[in-house]
C-alpha cells in the first residue's frame, strides 16, 4: 500500500513537470563574470519575473555546454577563434570587462601593500621563486617586511578563461613561461594546488597561510582578500581600481578580431592595469529554442543599458556604447530562427 501511495505521489510530481515551466534562461561558464551576472539576474527577476539559471563552472564548461546545446548561452573569458565560431555556428559578443588581480595571504601584509611585476609573477608560478623573502620579490618591496615562509601556489584546476588571460599575460612578459607552459584555459602547472573556479581559488587563498592566487577583482573585493599592486608594461606601479582597468581596456580595437575576440592583457599606458580581461557570451546563430534565446538577448540588452551601476559597484567595466550598438545590430542580422526571422527584435 505504501508503495502504491509512493508511486502515485511520484506520478503526480512527474505530471506536474510536464506542464510548461516559466521561461527560465539557462547559461553556464565563466566564474569570472559570475558575481555581476548574479546581481543582474537578481534585479532582472525582480523586474520581469524571468529567472536566470547560471552554472558557474568555468569557461571551458561554458564552451562545452553551449556546443552541446544543453544551455541557451555560454560565457567564456577565453574567446573562440573565427574558425571555431564558424564550425559551431556560434555568435560571440563581449558583455563586460574586469581585472584579474594576484591575491596573497601573508601575515602583516595588507591589501595593496605588496608590489609584483610580470616576470616575478611568472617565476613564482614556475616554481623558481620558492619563498616570500626571495631577493626578486624583496627588490620590488623595499618597505614591506617579507617572512621567510614557503610560497603556497594556488591555481585553477578547471578549464578557465581567467587562467587563459593570466597565462596570456605571463607568456607575454616571460619567454621562459611561454616556452615551458604557454597560454591556455588549462595548462600543465609546474607546481601548486588546483582549485575549482574563481570561488575555489579565493577560498584556498583565504584559508592557506603564505599562499598566492589569481582571481577576478570582484572576488578579492567581496571576500576581503589581500590583493597586490602590479607593475605594468610602462614600468609604473598601479593599484587594481576601475580606473586602471578602464585604462587597460581603452586601446582595444574591438572590430579587429572575429567575434570581437580581443585580449586585453599587457596593454600599454601609464595607468593601465596589466591583467585586464573581458567575458564573451556564446549563442547559436540558429538556435533550437528561438524563444529562449530571444529572452536571453533581451536580458543582455537590459544589462547593457540598466546593469551598469551594479557592474561598477563591483569594479567591472562596461562595454563602450559604440560597441554595444554594433553588437545589437549583429544580433539583428546574424541570429535568426528557423524561419529566417531575427530572434531579437530591437525595441528602441
Amino acid at each position: 500500500m505504501k508503495l502504491v501511495k509512493f508511486a502515485l505521489a511520484t506520478a503526480a510530481l512527474m505530471a506536474a513537470s510536464w506542464t510548461a515551466s516559466a521561461a527560465d534562461l539557462s547559461g553556464a561558464g565563466s566564474t569570472f563574470v559570475y558575481p555581476v551576472l548574479a546581481k543582474w539576474a537578481d534585479a532582472y527577476k525582480k523586474e520581469t519575473g524571468i529567472g536566470l539559471n547560471y552554472q558557474s563552472i568555468g569557461s571551458g564548461g561554458g564552451i562545452k555546454q553551449i556546443k552541446a546545446k544543453t544551455v541557451v548561452f555560454g560565457a567564456t573569458d577565453a574567446p573562440l577563434s573565427g574558425k571555431e565560431l564558424e564550425e559551431g555556428g556560434l555568435a560571440q559578443f563581449p558583455i563586460i570587462m574586469g581585472g584579474i588581480v594576484p591575491v596573497v595571504n601573508i601575515d602583516g601584509v595588507k591589501p595593496g601593500d605588496l608590489v609584483l611585476d610580470g616576470p616575478t609573477l611568472a617565476k613564482i608560478y614556475l616554481g623558481d621563486i620558492k619563498k616570500w623573502d626571495d631577493p626578486a620579490i624583496a627588490k620590488l618591496n623595499a618597505s614591506v617586511k617579507l617572512p621567510s615562509t614557503a610560497i603556497a601556489l594556488v591555481h585553477r584546476a578547471d578549464a578557465s578563461g581567467t587562467t587563459f588571460n593570466f597565462t596570456y599575460y605571463l607568456s607575454a612578459v616571460s619567454p621562459d613561461w611561454k616556452s615551458k607552459v604557454g597560454t591556455a584555459t588549462a595548462v600543465q602547472w609546474p607546481a601548486g594546488i588546483g582549485a575549482k573556479g574563481n570561488e575555489g581559488v579565493a577560498n584556498n587563498v583565504a584559508q592557506t597561510k603564505g599562499s598566492i592566487g589569481y582571481v577576478e577583482y570582484a572576488y578579492a573585493k567581496q571576500n576581503k582578500l589581500t590583493f597586490t599592486k602590479m607593475m605594468n608594461k610602462a614600468g609604473k606601479v598601479v593599484m587594481p581600481t576601475s580606473e586602471s582597468f578602464q585604462a587597460g581596456a581603452a586601446n582595444a580595437d574591438w572590430k579587429s578580431q572575429p567575434g570581437y575576440g580581443v585580449i586585453l592583457a599587457n596593454q600599454p599606458g601609464d595607468a593601465s592595469w596589466p591583467i585586464t580581461a573581458s567575458t564573451w557570451i556564446l549563442v547559436h546563430k540558429q538556435p533550437t529554442d528561438a524563444a529562449a534565446l530571444g529572452e536571453a538577448l533581451k536580458f543582455f540588452a537590459w544589462s547593457y543599458s540598466k546593469g551598469q551601476d551594479a557592474a561598477k559597484a563591483l569594479d567591472y567595466i562596461p562595454m563602450p556604447a559604440s560597441v554595444v550598438a554594433d553588437i545589437e545590430k549583429m544580433w539583428g542580422s546574424d541570429i535568426k530562427d528557423g524561419g529566417g526571422k531575427p530572434v531579437y527584435a530591437m525595441t528602441h
Binding site: G60, A152, G192, T208
Partner: protein, 331 residues
C-alpha cells in the same frame, strides 16, 4: 485440496468444473509470470554491471586508440594540446588508499580487539554502534569537515612539525617536503582512514566473536595473556576474513570521491612528498567531467573511470571471495 489453495489465493468458491480449471490455470499463469518477473529483475542486476562495464569501454575507446597503453604511465595532463595520461590520478589513488590502510587496519583491529576482549559487556553495543555511525556519515560531510577543520589544523601545527623533523632525515625526508598546504595526499589519506575504519572494525568484530570459545578458554587455561590469545589464536583463526574485511575497506577507499575531492589539492603531478597536492581518479572525474571540452578529453576521463572500475572490481571480488569462503566454512 485445491479448494483451500483457491480460497487462499483469494478466488471465491467456484462450483463448476470448467471455471475451477480456469481459475487454477490463472494461478498457474500468475506463478509463471511472477517467476519470469523475478528472473527479469535478476537479469537487470546483471545488466547493470555489464552495462556499466560496456559503456565505460565504449566511452574510453577514443582515448585508448589515441594513446594506447602508454596512457597508464604518462604523467602529462594537458587539455589544450589534448595529451592525457593517467599516471598522476592512479598514483594519487594508490598512495591515498595506502596511507588510509596503514592507519585504518591497525587501529580497526585494535578497536575490534577492544570490543571483543576488553570492553565491559554493557558498553559493548553502544561503542560498536558509535563506531558504525562513522560509516553512516555521508562522505561529503567528511569532505567539508576536512577542508574547514582538519586541513587548517594540519597546516598550522602538524605539517610544519613534520617538515622540520622528518623532512630533514636522509631517506624518509623526501616524503615530507614542500610548503605546508594543509591539503594534500596525507590529509586525504587520513580522512579516508577515518572513513574506512568502521568497515574493518565491524567485520573484524563479527569474526572475532565467532571464534569458538573453547579455543580461547583453552589458551587462557595455559596461562596466556589477553594479547597472546589475540595474537596467536584469534588472529590466525580469522585471518582470511580479516583480510577480506580489509580489502573491502580498501575497495571503499579506492573509489571514494567527495571526501577526497575537497582536500586532495587537484594537482596532476606525481610527487614523492605526501604533503604535496595530488589527485585521485575519482576526484579528477568529479572535478573535470562537466567541463571537458572535446571528445578526447571526455573519453580520457571515462578511461580513468574504467581503470578505477577494474581496480575496485579486482579488489572487491577478491574480498568477497575470501569472505565467501569463510561463510562456507562456517556452514
Amino acid at each position: 485440496m485445491s479448494e483451500v489453495a483457491l480460497k487462499e489465493a483469494g478466488v471465491t468458491t467456484v462450483d463448476r468444473v470448467e471455471s475451477r480449471g480456469a481459475a487454477l490455470g490463472r494461478l498457474r499463469l500468475f506463478d509463471v509470470v511472477f517467476l519470469r518477473l523475478t528472473r527479469g529483475a535478476v537479469f537487470t542486476v546483471l545488466a547493470l554491471l555489464s552495462g556499466t562495464l560496456l559503456s565505460l569501454i565504449v566511452g574510453s575507446m577514443p582515448a585508448f586508440r589515441a594513446f594506447g597503453l602508454s596512457y597508464l604511465i604518462t604523467e602529462t595532463w594537458n587539455p589544450v594540446t589534448e595529451k592525457f595520461g593517467a599516471l598522476a590520478p592512479i598514483y594519487g589513488t594508490l598512495v591515498t588508499s595506502a596511507i588510509a590502510m596503514l592507519i585504518a587496519v591497525p587501529v580497526g583491529l585494535m578497536i575490534a580487539f577492544f570490543l571483543t576482549e576488553l570492553c565491559p559487556k554493557m558498553l559493548r553495543r553502544p561503542i560498536a554502534i558509535a563506531i558504525e555511525l562513522l560509516a553512516g556519515i555521508p562522505s561529503i560531510i567528511y569532505g567539508i569537515w576536512g577542508l574547514f577543520v582538519f586541513a587548517p589544523f594540519l597546516q598550522k601545527y602538524i605539517q610544519p612539525f613534520l617538515i622540520d623533523t622528518l623532512g630533514n632525515l636522509p631517506l624518509v625526508g623526501s616524503l615530507f617536503e614542500g610548503p605546508p598546504y594543509g591539503i594534500g595526499m596525507l590529509t586525504a589519506g587520513f580522512i579516508l582512514a577515518i572513513m574506512v575504519l568502521p568497515f574493518i572494525t565491524a567485520i573484524s568484530r563479527d569474526v572475532f566473536d565467532a571464534v569458538p570459545a573453547v579455543l580461547k578458554e583453552a589458551t587462557y587455561g595455559l596461562g596466556c595473556t589477553t594479547w597472546e590469545v589475540f595474537k596467536y589464536v584469534i588472529l590466525p583463526y580469522t585471518r582470511v576474513a580479516v583480510i577480506g574485511g580489509c580489502m573491502l575497506g580498501l575497495g571503499r577507499a579506492l573509489g571514494e570521491t567527495m571526501a577526497v575531492t575537497f582536500v586532495i589539492g587537484n594537482a596532476h603531478k606525481v610527487s614523492a612528498s605526501i604533503l604535496q597536492p595530488g589527485t585521485t581518479i575519482s576526484a579528477t572525474i568529479a572535478n573535470e567531467f562537466t567541463e571537458a571540452v572535446g571528445d578526447l578529453y571526455t573519453s580520457s576521463l571515462i578511461a580513468l573511470g574504467l581503470i578505477l572500475f577494474f581496480i575496485t572490481f579486482i579488489v572487491l571480488a577478491a574480498a568477497r571471495y575470501m569472505l565467501m569462503r569463510i561463510q562456507q566454512r562456517a556452514g
